[in-house]
């Protein structure tokens, strides 16, 4: 249980009350569950959508991408919010338990930012240096061109989609060093890095206060890119990732209406407002078939 999740519960309760209050009679609620990275985004979508669609009721909770996908599998959620692609095993389970293959819908873009304290002179790191830092090979800032200070390394807990993404893309699926400190929720990471002059952490770009995101270069590349909207949308930023929705089978009825709205101009405006990046061009409700190798 994180504080984050408690706030989610409160927000959900508030949303429910609001929804019931405005609609008079509540229709069948749409439940969305999953990624902590996306929980604020999901809640804003639900809020704005319910203002204009009086008979819609949407409940949004966090808990982590894996939790959302598990909820989709066992039928306690209509939409799983996930900051990582589904594993093949999970797709098979959806098919087995719910009778239809899941649809993957990219709803927004996020740049996974690498954060340091705002006073840290370092402005950029490449993927190789990041891997070495998170595996304990590099322990001092002086090895990456900074002052002679020990690096304090923060990571997300191992239940988060962000953790899985980082592990896959930076560590190449190897293990984190035991010294890496883990905190629940990106907000806690940001807070810890902002209070610790020689710390490093990672998280969605939607959060940045008291900390500074670094420019990142791919392995063996000398081109560094800031996590800006243009770089994320063009895919130049090495840690750009789509934020997904998963539904059982093709979305239909109320869920389809919601998906179309989220992919449309109003939904994408909410994405910018929350601090993530809208999709490069509006897509139709058709789910792009993803390759699971990402």
């Amino acid at each position: 249980m994180t504080i984050h999740r408690l706030t989610t519960v409160f927000a959900m309760a508030a949303l429910l009350l609001l929804a019931v209050g405005t609609s008079g009679l509540a229709g069948k609620a749409i439940t969305m569950k999953g990624s902590d990275t996306m929980v604020i985004l999901g809640q804003r979508w639900a809020e704005v959508y319910m203002k204009t669609h009086k008979d819609a009721v949407i409940q949004v909770t966090g808990g982590g991408s894996g939790t959302g996908i598990a909820a989709l599998i066992n039928g306690s959620a209509d939409i799983a919010q996930s900051s990582r692609s589904m594993k093949d095993k999970e797709k098979d389970e959806v098919k087995a338990k719910r009778g239809a293959a899941p649809s993957e819908i990219a709803t927004a873009l996020d740049g996974l930012a690498i954060y340091v304290h705002e006073k840290n002179p370092i402005t950029r790191l490449n993927a190789t240096q990041l891997k070495a830092i998170y595996q304990g090979d590099i322990t001092s800032w002086k090895d990456v061109g900074g002052p002679d200070e020990e690096i304090v390394v923060y990571s997300r807990e191992n239940n988060s989609g962000t953790y899985a993404y980082f592990k896959e893309h930076i560590l190449k699926n190897e293990d984190f060093a035991p010294q890496v400190q883990t905190l629940p929720g990106t907000a806690s990471i940001i807070n810890a890095v902002s209070k610790d002059e020689w710390a490093i952490g990672y998280g969605g770009i939607g959060y940045s206060s008291g900390v500074r995101p670094l420019a990142v270069a791919n392995e063996g590349s000398s081109e560094y890119f800031e996590p800006t909207e243009a770089n994320v949308a063009s895919g130049k930023y090495p840690l750009a990732r789509p934020l997904f929705w998963y539904t059982v089978g093709e979305p239909t009825g109320e869920i389809k209406a919601l998906v179309d709205w989220v992919l449309g101009p109003e939904g994408q405006a909410v994405v910018s407002e929350v601090g993530y990046y809208p999709l490069p061009k509006p897509k139709t409700g058709e789910a792009p078939k993803s390759d699971s190798g990402r």
């Binding site: 595996q135 807990e157 699926n173 293990d175 010294q179 883990t182 209070k195």
Partner: protein, 325 residues
């Protein structure tokens, strides 16, 4: 409920007698229910932990020996204890978690005992009646602070202060979490210790006074030794409370599962591990069963510690009331 023996009625009216019987029944059901709940929790946790010993499926991923021996985590790196349950090759080393729990708890005990026992000595031996009536409820009110609030305080305020003061590498570490834990267990240590001190018979004090001892000598040489088992029990109960506490360590310890001795390193405790990972884990997976196994370990550990504590309290009571102990 059938009662073998008709209870005495004390000349009660029939209506009152019915009410008496009804309430007896209600309380009995409540008590039996509470005991049953505890037994069932124990059974459930045990049942979910058992596959760690017996399930072939779990053994493909983790065995008891793998949990307690150093593992290889990277090519050409020395083997070490490592906790990486979400990995290509999941690794579940228990020693760092056990050590982490013990480190944080040790700091908590070292921090809390002098304060709590000192306060207990003052309020039972030296304090004027007025002062005691203020001190006791105030300290016991500390127990009412939700641990999440203490954890938040440790994370936001205490961690910063301590890092500034001592220039530690890790802002969140065993000592920071341990001090916050210490604040949480002061009330239980104080309450039990105070009870033990006050249970020392007046005759002891009077005899010492008659021999010309001053109040400090009485407290130090007579009362404290007599109440020593009770003080020990108080500390043991505090230990049991601290090792099972979750929220404070989850927030303020940094949760890094390192196998290292310094008390200013970050630690990952058993309870925080369960709290952080249980929500996410796939039911029935090896990871799930290992978490229950850790829960079972914690349960047994706190149970034993509390048992020892209670035994000492009982022995002390018997000794001081003059029955053979």
């Amino acid at each position: 409920m059938t009662r073998r023996r008709e209870r005495p009625t004390y000349g009660l009216r029939p209506a009152d007698r019915r009410r008496d019987r009804l309430m007896t029944y209600v309380f009995t059901v409540g008590a039996v229910g509470a005991i049953a709940a505890i037994v069932l929790i124990f059974v459930f946790v045990g049942r979910e932990a058992l596959p760690v010993f017996f399930s072939a499926e779990v053994h493909e991923e983790v065995t008891l020996s793998k949990m307690v021996t150093p593992l290889e985590w990277r090519a050409n790196k020395p083997k070490t204890f490592i906790w990486q349950p979400v990995s290509e090759v999941p690794k579940y080393s228990l020693p760092p978690l056990l050590l982490g729990s013990l480190k944080a708890t040790l700091i908590a005990i070292l921090f809390a005992t002098p304060f709590a026992v000192g306060a207990a000595m003052y309020s039972s031996e030296f304090a004027p009646r007025r002062a005691r009536e203020v001190i006791k409820p105030v300290i016991e009110m500390l127990a009412g602070i939700p641990s999440v609030v203490l954890g938040f305080f440790a994370l936001m305020v205490l961690a910063g202060w301590l890092k500034e003061a001592f220039d530690w590498k890790y802002r969140l570490n065993a000592t920071t979490a341990g001090i916050a834990l210490g604040i949480a267990i002061i009330p239980i240590i104080y309450t039990v210790a105070e009870e033990a001190l006050r249970a020392v018979p007046r005759q002891y004090r009077e005899a010492a006074q008659a021999l010309g001892a001053n109040p400090w000598q009485i407290a130090r040489r007579v009362v404290l030794p007599a109440a020593a088992p009770g003080i020990f029990a108080a500390v043991a109960l505090g230990f049991g409370r601290a090792i099972g506490e979750t929220m404070i360590v989850l927030m303020a310890s940094g949760n890094a599962a390192t196998w290292s001795l310094p008390l200013t390193d970050s630690v990952r405790t058993m309870s925080a591990t369960i709290a952080a990972e249980m929500a996410e884990v796939v039911n029935g997976s090896a990871h799930y069963h290992v978490l229950f196994f850790i829960g079972g370990l914690l349960f047994v550990l706190t149970f034993l510690i509390n048992l020892v504590g209670e035994m000492y309290v009982g022995r002390l009571k018997r000794r001081l009331t003059g029955r053979a102990g």
